[in-house]
Symmetry: C2
Subunit: 332 residues, 2 copies
């Protein structure tokens, strides 16, 4: 097998060939066809992720064909086309992952490879109508968006939703889920062309987030939002609390611009606001999402596709933030 290996923080991934190891009990080997990058992969290459263990094969999203079975696996999985639920050991509590929870790709070997081994609990049959690329593009970003909007955000039809940073994988899939669910969606971006692309996909409107009064400008367009889905944080956090409808929710699934320097508790309690942290999603949420995606014929947007050899360039492209949709890696 070949895999893109991270040996050292700050160093580029190295494509290496190694022997395939024995398949553990309850796991299967997959010949990967496509993988997708996530911001998590970039954070790990920068050393900005908890409990990094090196060397590591990154990549949480993948789709391919089951080529070999470990002991104890139902033989009907052999030769199946599958996509991966990218979590392990979520645990019994739907509110939160267990302390043993892992995301595929560090410490377990991930999908930036020609082959990988995963437990059967990660397998999900690839919908026939989907390409391997589409199946690999969806899982981590899709389930993060799904949990953020519905489980944690309580989004219902007709509500007004803001999604910040449109173009990112989670943000774009959240927009697609929300539009199909009957919400009215407004977006923010650093780029006019991304705003236009979002509007062409069904968003009602949007603003450039760098500007001072962006939240006021967006409120003028949309009215106060019931829900804001944000993966950015930083100095835009307070204007979002200010803009939120009384009784509204701000779901935070990331903090790419860091933590805010204040939190106005008076606003929080008087407006009865919910500030909700959200990460990833459970296997059950993944299955609900897949059913919804198939029912509404939603496919993820692909930004660009890179070869395994060019994994590092693909990560750099992701880090630059110019993408609109998922950054993909062709594994075979």
């Amino acid at each position: 097998m070949k895999a893109a290996v991270l040996h050292q923080i700050g160093q580029p991934l190295v494509l290496e060939t190694s022997h395939e190891s024995e398949i553990p009990h309850g796991e299967v080997q997959i010949r990967l066809k496509a993988a997708a990058l996530n911001r998590r992969d970039f954070w790990i290459t920068q050393g900005l992720y908890p409990k990094i263990k090196l060397p590591a094969i990154l990549g949480s999203d993948g789709a391919g064909v089951v080529t070999a079975l470990g002991a104890g696996v139902d033989p009907s999985w052999l030769n199946q086309e599958v996509m991966l639920y990218p979590g392990l050991h979520w645990g019994d509590d739907p509110r939160v992952q267990s302390p043993n929870f892992q995301v595929l790709g560090m410490p377990r070997p991930g999908t930036l490879a020609t082959h990988t081994c995963v437990p059967v609990s990660c397998l999900y049959p690839k919908p026939k109508a989907w390409t391997f690329q589409e199946a690999a593009a969806l899982p981590l970003a899709g389930v993060t968006a799904w949990r953020g909007l519905f489980t944690q955000g309580h989004l219902i039809p007709g509500q007004t939703l803001w999604i910040t940073g449109i173009g990112g994988g989670v943000a774009l899939l959240a927009m697609q889920w929300a539009l199909a669910a009957g919400a009215r969606v407004w977006v923010t971006s650093g780029s006019h062309s991304k705003l236009q692309q979002a509007i062409s996909m069904g968003a009602q409107g949007g603003v450039i987030y760098g500007q001072e009064a962006w939240a006021c400008d967006l409120s003028d367009q949309s009215g106060p939002p019931d829900l804001i889905l944000d993966g950015s944080g930083g100095k835009d956090h307070d204007p979002m609390l200010e803009a939120l409808k009384p009784g509204g929710r701000l779901v935070q699934y990331g903090a790419t611009t860091g933590s805010p320097r204040s939190l106005n508790l008076f606003k929080l309690f008087w407006k009865q606001i919910t500030l909700q942290g959200s990460t990833m999603g459970s296997r059950e949420e993944f299955e609900s999402m897949m059913q919804f995606a198939c029912l509404h014929q939603i496919r993820p947007v692909i930004d660009s596709t890179w070869s395994l050899e060019d994994c590092q360039a693909a990560i750099n492209h992701l880090a630059n933030g110019h993408q609109f949709g998922k950054v993909m890696v062709q594994c075979a």
Copy 2:
């Protein structure tokens, strides 16, 4: 009628006599027997409350006898012993009060008086077994605690709960509700004697909150809490987020020590924490609380009772923070 009137921010209340005015349509006149103070009253005397209108008769909590009826009021209310739901115009949304919402006592004349007029929607029959003092002590603090714990905090039996600043009205009633609901309660206070009083009422334990590592010390006692009910905020906010069980909730019903200078979003999203603002409660919540209080025979704790003439001294006593339970005013 006599009433304690606030004419100017920072000036003491003045006891004044005035003629009783005509009773508006749909309202009743009450001969007040007892009133209770809340921190809100103190904030208003300091000018630290939104939209203050002067002169004002403060006081949100009261109990007494209906002595006269305005037009359109069911005559069976006459001579009834009543306590007051202290909110007006909550509106239709259980998640949040409407923009027209008011709390009794500024801008409407409040209960620091011998008589007051309120709409029928504020009336609730005083339970026969309760004194007027007990009935006046409960409403605002009780419903704030009720909403914070159950509606917003999702407290269920067996959960671990922290209540900060035990001794305050909301905190103490929250402890009583939570214990009766089968939660395990730990508390914080600035005073050892308050901790001991709370433990004698059923709290499992507690710590002094001024100490550097109070949240670690309390975690050592209780394990990580499912829910924290806090009316303080400030620099203790981050240690509470840190202590909270993954998937846990921090309900904020006030911010007596101000807003925190940071908010760690990484902690928030990775632990899937809910940070929930909460204010007061609806008439429906008030009724649920009263049924619960009667069922479990819970009575509010009275700290001290003052005369109408001594209202200002009573407010100063409240502001000093030495009370354990409600600070009461005898109206008749």
